[in-house]
């Protein structure tokens, strides 16, 4: 069976960008094995860091449903070359080795902290403009490491973690996304609080306050520190888990309801 899935409008690091990706996933998750052609003719712009989420979805649909995926070559070569450069679309050419503003899509086992750190140091922060900011590099590596440690401890998954980024030199903004397909924020926090925390939105707020589900050791400083760091440095920070898209860049409301995907997605957008 073959199906063409046409994405609508832009796929940005926003609640509406997420909705488009989750709609894509939901339209295929209960289908028999299908060859799915990703049609991008209606799309003008993709935040390349969203390839972490798209990559996680495609991998899940491939492994669990037996789907396979293809793209129209002319659309990729013409407007979405970035998907080759960041390795989302596999190619034998040297495009993926080009060390420009693209940051490769990569996956890591949750215990592979060494591989993750190498990626962060050499790929995500490998751009010449970022190498000059030694303090930013040091702080960013620390915060990304805290995130990875948090996922390693709490995601409860043996599946790989997906990461991808994008550096926008003109705007001097670095986007980074990390996606795990684990249990998400709510189940362990609901269990730990004996049901006091009942929604994904409450669970995210609870974690941002510096709480931890660990009973045998203190904890909870990593996410809170990152939240504070983003506040002090005009960075944007999104946590998407369950049906909640939380962000410090979403105005006074602070969150949006979305269709749930599994696990947790975190986006960081730093000015640098």
């Amino acid at each position: 069976m073959e199906k063409v899935y046409t994405f609508q409008n832009n796929i940005e690091t926003t609640p509406s960008g997420h909705k488009k990706l989750i709609d894509f996933y939901n339209s295929l998750k209960d289908q028999p094995p299908t060859v799915v052609v990703l049609d991008l003719k209606e799309v003008n712009f993709i935040d390349a860091n969203q390839c972490a989420l798209l990559g996680a979805m495609v991998t899940k649909l491939t492994n669990e449903n037996g789907h396979s995926f293809a793209c129209y070559g002319d659309q990729i070569d013409g407007r979405f070359n970035i998907l080759k450069r960041n390795g989302f679309i596999k190619t034998d050419s040297d495009l993926v080795k080009y060390n420009g503003s693209s940051v490769p899509l990569a996956t890591f086992q949750t215990e592979d902290d060494v591989g993750f750190l190498n990626y962060i140091s050499n790929e995500l922060l490998g751009h010449d403009a970022l190498r000059r900011h030694s303090l930013f590099r040091r702080e960013a590596i620390d915060h990304f490491s805290e995130l990875f440690a948090n996922i390693s401890t709490h995601a409860r998954t043996s599946e790989e973690v997906f990461v991808c980024g994008q550096y926008y030199p003109n705007r001097r903004v670095l986007n980074f996304s990390i996606v795990d397909v684990g249990v998400g924020f709510l189940p362990p926090i609901q269990e730990h609080t004996n049901g006091i925390i009942q929604t994904a939105e409450q669970a995210i707020d609870w974690a941002l306050m510096g709480n931890t589900t660990k009973k045998d050791a203190p904890g909870g400083l990593g996410i809170k520190s990152l939240y504070e760091y983003c506040g002090e440095n005009r960075g944007s920070f999104n946590i998407i888990s369950g049906d909640c898209f939380w962000g410090n860049n979403l105005g006074t409301l602070g969150n949006r309801k979305i269709s749930p995907f599994c696990g947790t997605i975190i986006h960081l957008m730093f000015k640098c």
Binding site: D113, S145, S152, T153, I197, Q202, N211, A217, G220, L221
Partner: protein, 108 residues
């Protein structure tokens, strides 16, 4: 001297699981030695997750060990993290008050 990099066999201390390896080492060491010097030499990065599972857990379970442990080969950023972890681990009444206020916030 306890050199963390030697215990975990890595140049960065990131994971909770690695913190627990150090905790297990320190728990035994503290029974033998009156003072322990913990060296962070050779570590490029260190997370609070790691520190909570190692030094934080030790201080939470054995608050008396705070007088016996000293951390060396640290820079300003790492010292700030260690201090946060230390305060968080030692101040049980603060933790309880925090938990209580959070519970009230979400139950309201």
């Amino acid at each position: 001297m306890v050199k963390i990099a030697d215990i975990i066999g890595k140049t960065s201390a990131i994971l909770h699981a690695d913190g627990l390896k150090v905790y297990n080492y320190l728990v035994e060491e503290i029974l033998r030695a009156p003072k322990i010097v913990v060296s962070f030499a050779g570590l490029e990065h260190c997370t609070t997750s790691f520190l909570n599972a190692s030094i934080g857990k030790l201080l939470m379970n054995r608050p008396d060990s705070v007088e016996k442990i000293s951390c060396v080969d640290t820079d300003e950023m790492l010292r700030a993290k260690i201090e946060k972890v230390r305060s968080n681990a030692l101040n049980e009444s603060l933790r309880q008050a925090h938990d209580e206020s959070v519970r009230e916030y979400f139950e309201a």
